[in-house]
């Protein structure tokens, strides 16, 4: 490092195929010193960390998205090239650590050649050589170093504790390159990358395209310009989603490829075949082969991918996951709710009673509470997803589910987002980032919010508990549990049907063909699993937290203002009058007066007026204006319905879905002519409405951010809410016709 560049830590990019243990190595090298952000213009997470080299130099380590090739068609795939080459806004790495999987060396070398051609100093971390040794095979490191022109270090990302040797080589690479930093690399430097013999016509094509590679990309190096020329020839097509390609390079690459095609040649075939020819020629000298044998993974898959057994085991696992989501998370949710209750009480006791205290307790504390209450389920769900991904089972799940998902116009890869949707749509929408094509991503994002998320659960619990008796049918099936299960089944079916309809109308056309690699099974690396849980939880808090908090505060405002002067005067009189009552009755009289005031204030508040205003719209569904107020409240976040109904029915906002008082109030609630408001039919209609309506600001905000447009969130809101209205209408009116 020269003095002028010491103000900036050297950047080391960690690149490799998917499933090479790249992220595990990244976690090992950086520990917990990681920073998660986003790449400019795309919503793929950019994970960077810090690590100290043996000499004491601190470097910045960037986890490049895993890729089989630098060639790209989508904006997301383009990132791997931009990070590794340092073009189009990404900083140029000072060195690259290339993680190769020794057990799949020939395919991994394909990417390695592309990276080496860029001329940036490379250190190869050859992972899983210990696995190879178990099969009786051995890598010739010296031969590999000689042919690749780069240092090769054997590592085991999973088992090694000490990566000194690897880091020494990184320091060496940085030092060797240090003097030339910032200037263009001259051709003398290019000798480093492996040379390949190419057909003469292809050489001419490449030279043509290379002339259009901008100086800011090639840095004056012919070899680098040629590497970009190969990339452009393979990547650019008439309709791609690439954004960082200069116009004349794009035009030249297209023209050259077409000219070759007219001459009966395919530049794709020639480029790819040339790289594999180089690899195949040398593979025998790299790996000393043993006789092929069935691997352990193949034997495990004979069970886990078995047509009957495999599917049964998968369903069993899903039962465990759901059991965890609902039963095991309960005590944790109780803890969170208890803690937030204490915080609210503490705030009440410190702050002088009045508007500000109300704002803090009912707005801010309740808002924070309604965010963190989701954390237990989200953490639990991502524990299972992380475990399934880390062990390699998730790819098998995608394979098992592909046929079902494909019938609905989705791919097996949509399974993880759909599963996440049972906890919360926001992390589920973020999970669609792993899908290759925009069409598939959008389609998944638009149906995931239909899945029964944990915010709907309190509403169902309240209504089912209030309106259906806890009886057992057919000897052992509890009616309440049956209804709850029916709601889950209903939402899942609607989501699948919605996907089928959308994929045949708005998203007509083929999804991406499936190329699904099954990685070898391995024992979970717990820090990686926990790290993923942490990342998901923090991205939930980041994405959804602010929105839910803001909505809860806004909602408090809408339901508290304007103040009803007359009701306040009446309340003051009642309280004064209560002072004359016997002491034993005083407290309950004041409490009743408080609840009455809250309910009167609500009726005259903006939210209350809005409830009245929409009454004609929701009356055909069987809802009165008070339920309308609850629906307004539920728009911020569905579970707010429960506490809003507590206020509406004059019990107070501090109720939960298990509250008997609230259940009794719901049972007792009557229209002016004495008919009960809530019949089981109205309850069913209301649950159907909650199942289908898009009452979640954070979901809309997440989709707005992911699609970078207002159009899709508006579409989602309109289609879900319309669907909810129609379905509730059919349930209620149909039920009335049937005499229910």
């Amino acid at each position: 490092m020269d003095a002028s560049s010491t103000d900036r830590r050297p950047l080391v990019a960690l690149a490799g195929n998917p499933n090479t243990g790249k992220t595990t190595l990244f976690n090992r090298l950086t520990g917990l010193r990681q920073k998660v952000g986003n790449y400019a213009g795309v919503t793929v997470e950019r994970v960077a960390g810090e690590c100290a080299l043996p000499g004491g130099t601190r470097v910045q380590l960037l986890d490049v998205p895993g890729a089989y090739s630098l060639a790209a068609r989508s904006r997301e795939e383009e990132l791997a090239l931009q990070c590794v080459a340092g073009v189009a806004g990404e900083p140029r790495p000072d060195a690259i650590v290339l993680v190769l999987d020794a057990t799949h060396l020939s395919r991994n070398l394909y990417l390695a050649l592309q990276v080496l051609e860029l001329g940036t100093p490379v250190v190869v971390a050859l992972n899983m050589a210990d696995q190879l040794a178990k099969r009786g095979e051995r890598v010739d490191v010296a031969a590999l170093e000689r042919e690749l022109g780069a240092r090769v270090v054997l590592v085991s990302a999973l088992h090694d504790r000490d990566f000194t040797r690897l880091l020494e080589c990184v320091a060496e690479a940085l030092a060797a390159d240090g003097g030339r930093k910032g200037e263009g690399r001259q051709d003398g430097n290019d000798a480093r990358s492996p040379r390949r013999a190419l057909p003469r016509e292809l050489e001419a094509d490449l030279a043509q395209v290379a002339r259009c590679v901008p100086e800011s990309w090639s840095l004056g190096s012919n070899a680098r310009a040629r590497a970009f020329a190969e990339w452009a020839l393979l990547s650019v097509e008439e309709r791609d989603e690439l954004e960082g390609v200069p116009a004349d390079l794009r035009a030249r690459a297209l023209a050259t490829r077409q000219a070759a095609a007219q001459g009966g040649r395919s530049t794709d075939d020639e480029l790819i075949a040339a790289r594999y020819a180089w690899i195949d020629e040398r593979m025998p000298s790299f790996v000393v082969q043993a006789s092929p044998s069935r691997t352990a993974s193949e034997r495990i898959d004979a069970v886990l991918l078995h047509p009957l057994l495999g599917f049964g085991l998968f369903l069993g696992l899903m039962v465990v996951v759901f059991q965890a989501l609902f039963a095991w998370s309960d005590p944790l949710i109780g803890l969170v709710e208890g803690a937030m209750g204490h915080v609210g009480d503490a705030a009440r006791s410190i702050l002088p009673a009045g508007l500000f205290a109300d704002f803090v307790v009912e707005g801010v504390v309740a808002g924070v509470g309604s965010v963190v209450v989701f954390l237990p389920q989200i953490l639990l769900l991502f524990f299972f997803i992380g475990l399934m991904e880390d062990t390699g089972y998730m790819a098998r799940v995608a394979a098992l589910m592909d046929r079902v998902m494909r019938a609905m116009g989705l791919s097996g890869r949509a399974f993880v987002p759909m599963l996440s949707g049972y906890a919360c749509a926001v992390p589920a929408i973020l999970a669609t980032r792993t899908m290759e094509r925009r069409r598939d991503r959008l389609l998944t994002m638009l149906v995931v919010p239909l899945m029964t998320c944990s915010a709907r659960l309190p509403v169902y619990t309240l209504l089912i508990g209030a309106l259906w008796p806890p009886v057992v049918v057919a000897g052992f099936v509890p009616v309440q549990g049956l209804l709850m299960a029916a709601m889950y089944l209903f939402s899942t079916l609607v989501a699948l049907v919605a996907a089928a309809v959308l994929s045949r109308t708005l998203f007509r056309g083929q999804g991406a063909p499936l190329i699904l690699e099954l990685p070898a099974y391995r024992a979970p690396h717990w820090p990686s699993v926990l790290g993923m849980m942490g990342q998901r939880a923090s991205s939930f808090l980041r994405e959804a937290g602010g929105v839910i908090l803001a909505c809860t505060i806004a909602l408090w405002f809408l339901l508290s203002f304007p103040k009803d002067e007359a009701a306040q005067a009446r309340h003051a009189q009642t309280v004064v009058a209560a002072a004359t009552l016997p002491e034993a009755e005083q407290a309950s009289a004041v409490e009743a007066a408080d609840a009455r005031l809250a309910s009167d204030s609500l009726a005259s508040s903006w939210g209350g007026r809005f409830g009245h205003a929409i009454e004609p719209l929701i009356e055909p569904l069987g809802f009165d204006w008070k339920i309308g107020v609850g629906l307004v409240g539920a728009f911020a976040a569905r579970e707010v319905f429960v506490s809003t109904m507590g206020v509406v029915y004059g019990i107070g906002g501090g109720v939960d879905e298990e509250s008997d008082t609230l259940r009794e109030a719901i049972k007792a609630e009557a229209h002016s002519d004495g008919r009960p408001v809530y019949t089981p039919l109205v309850g069913l209609s209301l649950m159907v409405f909650f199942a289908l309506a898009c009452q979640c600001m954070s979901t809309l905000a997440a989709i707005k951010r992911e699609t970078r447009s207002w159009g899709w969130p508006v579409f989602l809101f309109v289609y879900m809410t319309a669907l909810a209205w129609v379905a509730s209408f059919v349930v209620h009116q149909g039920g009335l016709l049937l005499g229910l």
Binding site: A273, S297, P307, A399, P513, I515, E517, L518
Partner: protein
């Protein structure tokens, strides 16, 4: 020439030609499905409608209809 879907599990074949839409075809070749390369049909996933193939030591699943892009010569 034959299709992978007609082969028996465990059987190996040599790839003769790779077809399909450009980006799918390119990704197949980049993952090692090149003419002249040997593949083995590991299993069919009856419920998934997929074929599990072994190529260059890696296990890759393709959908039965999409795998028709690969023309093979059973060995």
């Amino acid at each position: 020439m034959a299709l992978l879907a007609t082969m028996a599990p465990g059987q190996a074949a040599r790839i003769e030609a790779v077809g399909g839409e450009r980006s799918f075809r390119r990704r197949l070749m980049e993952m090692g499905f090149l003419p002249g390369t040997q593949v083995r049909l590991v299993r069919r996933l009856a419920l998934g409608g997929l074929l599990e193939l072994e190529v260059r030591g890696g296990h890759v699943n393709l959908r039965i209809d999409e795998a028709a892009a690969l023309q093979v010569q059973p060995l």
